[in-house]
């Protein structure tokens, strides 16, 4: 899936995640900020990477600001942002 234009999904509310997607050149790149980075940083990156893989996204830059979202929320926000960016 090709990213054509910047797009976003989600919010900065507690338990949500704000995801921005931009076209990128050499592969996927994730910039993550989270209130639980120490406890769940790795897991959040994993979920974002898995979601990109499922959608066959290969060249995207993701900027994510997490406010304690659960895995399904992260997955939904990333997927929505990607579909809006196509």
């Amino acid at each position: 899936m090709k990213i054509n234009n910047p797009a976003k999904a989600g919010s900065l509310e507690s338990n949500d995640i704000f995801v921005m997607v931009f076209p990128n050149e050499n592969g996927n790149e994730i910039e993550l900020e989270s209130i639980v980075i120490k406890q769940f940083g790795k897991r959040i990156r994993e979920v974002i990477e898995e979601t990109l893989k499922e959608l066959n996204v290969e060249n995207a830059k993701i900027i994510a600001k997490d406010r304690g979202a659960l895995d399904y929320t992260i997955k939904a926000r990333v997927e929505t942002a990607i579909r809006r960016a196509m």
Binding site: N15, I35, V36, Q39, F40, K42, G68, A69, L70
Partner: protein, 513 residues
């Protein structure tokens, strides 16, 4: 070594001394002695009013290594601590220990004093904001010592915490040192936390922005304890002193928890004539008060007293006749200040009367029900309200441990998750309050009863409430969020957490960068 809760403690901590390990909530009672106090006598011709904070410091013979104390009734609006510490720094004094009953974000200038060696030690019952972060990062030379509200009074009375000069933020004061908190632009009501400081410090300085004609009645702290008085332009910002109206949570999850907690109280059999009650000012805690109020009205129950930091909501219950009296160590809003000024049965109490385990009986011992919060609670019911799950200091016991120990039924109310963080865990980051004093935890998804309270468990089983084990609660939370990675700590101890009796219940170590 390990204490009875399995927390690993050093035997000796530089800047603290030998560690007496916590050995149980009621294991250190018996006969205790109070310290002797030296008094600088005042002759009839002496004048106590001095020109400036600097002059008061000189008269008190401030020098390197002293301990100065402050109280927190002006909360995040307090100017006094910063004014005094700036003056001490300007005089070139070093190595000061600051014994402040609580430290708030407004006290950020302390961080500079910590960095340049003016302040090398801190005693506090609660701290949040930049100072707490600086302590957590290990900037303070000696570890901070965290007390409970009752434990601080105990430490002052016993001499464990020796205060050289106490500074009293005085909303109203006369030139001979009589103080009250009910009048003046910075009126904050009860001055309960300042009373042990006034009674046991080597020197006592009142700092006021409302100097009135002698005598400043009604007197809360009297002239017999006060050495000097300083008049300044302002002791605090009223916006930071009172929180306006304290609001009940509107969050449906919080309300559900409050409703369930009220059903637990009803099922316990304690909610009857003569009922006594305390709750914090947090949204869920206050919502419990709302539902308790409804039940009391519906069933015509007449309570005995409500205690603690008093909010306008509790004043309403009192004025409706649901309680005979209020015990007040600190007013949380203007409505509480107004009631404290007007109502005879709105009784002030000192920190010692409130929660000191080593006196002839504190008010917490007379509490039926206490509503508590938690940052984390472990499967043994030990509660953390000192550090966040990231290991950084963001609070402290305050009255948490005192009321949990004293009350017949200590209920922790909390959401099962905060953000993505599970509240019920295998092992809390820091133990503030021991599990043996916590009876039940109420979350939106289930209620767990401490196995020590089989009597309560039997009663709750007869209700429709979702009773489960605390392990089951923990599992529920983990299934939703996954397992958090462990925070890594250095060996360096940045804070010593004392239980109310002065034994060490835990230490806070520096978080690895």
């Amino acid at each position: 070594m390990e204490n009875i809760l399995g927390r690993v403690l050093p035997e000796y901590i530089e800047g603290y001394g030998e560690v007496k390990p916590f050995s149980g909530a009621f294991n250190n009672l018996g006969i205790k002695s109070k310290k002797q106090v030296s008094v600088k006598c005042v002759a009839p011709s002496d004048v106590k009013l001095v020109e400036s904070i600097k002059e008061a410091l000189i008269k008190c013979e401030i020098k390197d290594g002293m301990t100065v104390s402050f109280h927190h009734h002006l909360r995040n609006g307090d100017y006094v601590l910063n004014m005094v510490m700036d003056e001490i720094a300007k005089m070139g004094i070093k190595d000061i220990r600051v014994a402040a009953s609580s430290i708030f974000p407004v006290h950020a200038p302390l961080v500079e004093h910590i960095k340049n060696g003016v302040v090398t030690g801190i005693y506090a019952n609660y701290m949040s904001g930049p100072v707490a972060e600086a302590v957590s990062r290990g900037l303070l030379k000696y570890p901070a010592i965290m007390h409970t509200h009752g434990g601080r009074a105990r430490a002052i009375e016993s001499g464990d915490l020796k205060i050289d000069i106490a500074f009293i933020a005085a909303p109203t004061c006369d030139e001979y040192g009589n103080i009250n908190g009910v009048y003046g632009p910075s009126a904050c009501g009860s001055l309960g936390y300042a009373i042990p400081d006034a009674m046991y410090a080597g020197r006592v300085v009142a700092i006021t922005d409302n100097l009135v004609a002698y005598p400043a009645c009604p007197i809360e702290i009297s002239q017999e304890y006060v050495d000097y008085i300083v008049k300044v332009d302002s002791i605090g910002d009223p916006k930071g002193i009172v929180s306006g109206t304290t609001k009940i949570t509107k969050d449906p999850v919080g309300l559900k928890i409050a409703k369930m907690a009220t059903e637990v109280i009803e099922a316990s059999g304690l909610l009857k004539d003569g009922f006594s009650f305390q709750t914090g000012a947090g949204g869920i805690s206050l919502a419990v008060a709302k539902y308790v109020r409804d039940v009391m009205k519906k069933n015509g129950i007449k309570g005995s007293f409500a205690a603690g930091g008093i909010t306008g909501y509790i004043v309403d219950m009192f004025e409706e006749g649901l309680f005979e009296a209020l015990f007040d160590v600190q007013c949380f809003d203007l409505k509480a200040v107004e009631s404290y000024r007007r109502n005879v049965a709105h009784q002030g109490m000192s920190a010692s009367l409130y929660g000191n385990p080593h006196n002839k009986g504190a008010v917490v011992n007379r509490l039926d029900v206490m509503i508590l919060g938690a940052t984390e609670i472990d499967v043994n019911f030990n509660v953390n309200v000192t550090t966040g799950s990231d290991g950084v200091i963001m609070g402290g016991s305050g009255g948490h441990s005192d009321t949990a120990a004293g009350s017949k039924l200590a209920i922790v109310v909390t959401k099962l998750l905060k953000g993505r963080l599970p509240i019920v865990v295998d092992k809390v980051t820091t133990v503030t309050t021991p599990g043996e004093t916590v009876d039940v935890i109420v979350t939106e998804r289930g209620i767990a009863v401490n196995p020590r309270r089989q009597d309560l468990l039997e009663k709750l089983k007869e209700t429709n409430l979702p009773i489960m084990t605390i392990e089951e609660l923990k599992k529920l939370a983990e299934n939703m969020v996954g397992t958090p990675e462990k925070i890594e700590f250095d060996d360096k101890v940045v804070a010593v957490v004392e239980y109310r009796d002065g034994t060490v219940i835990d230490v806070v170590r520096k978080v690895k960068e």
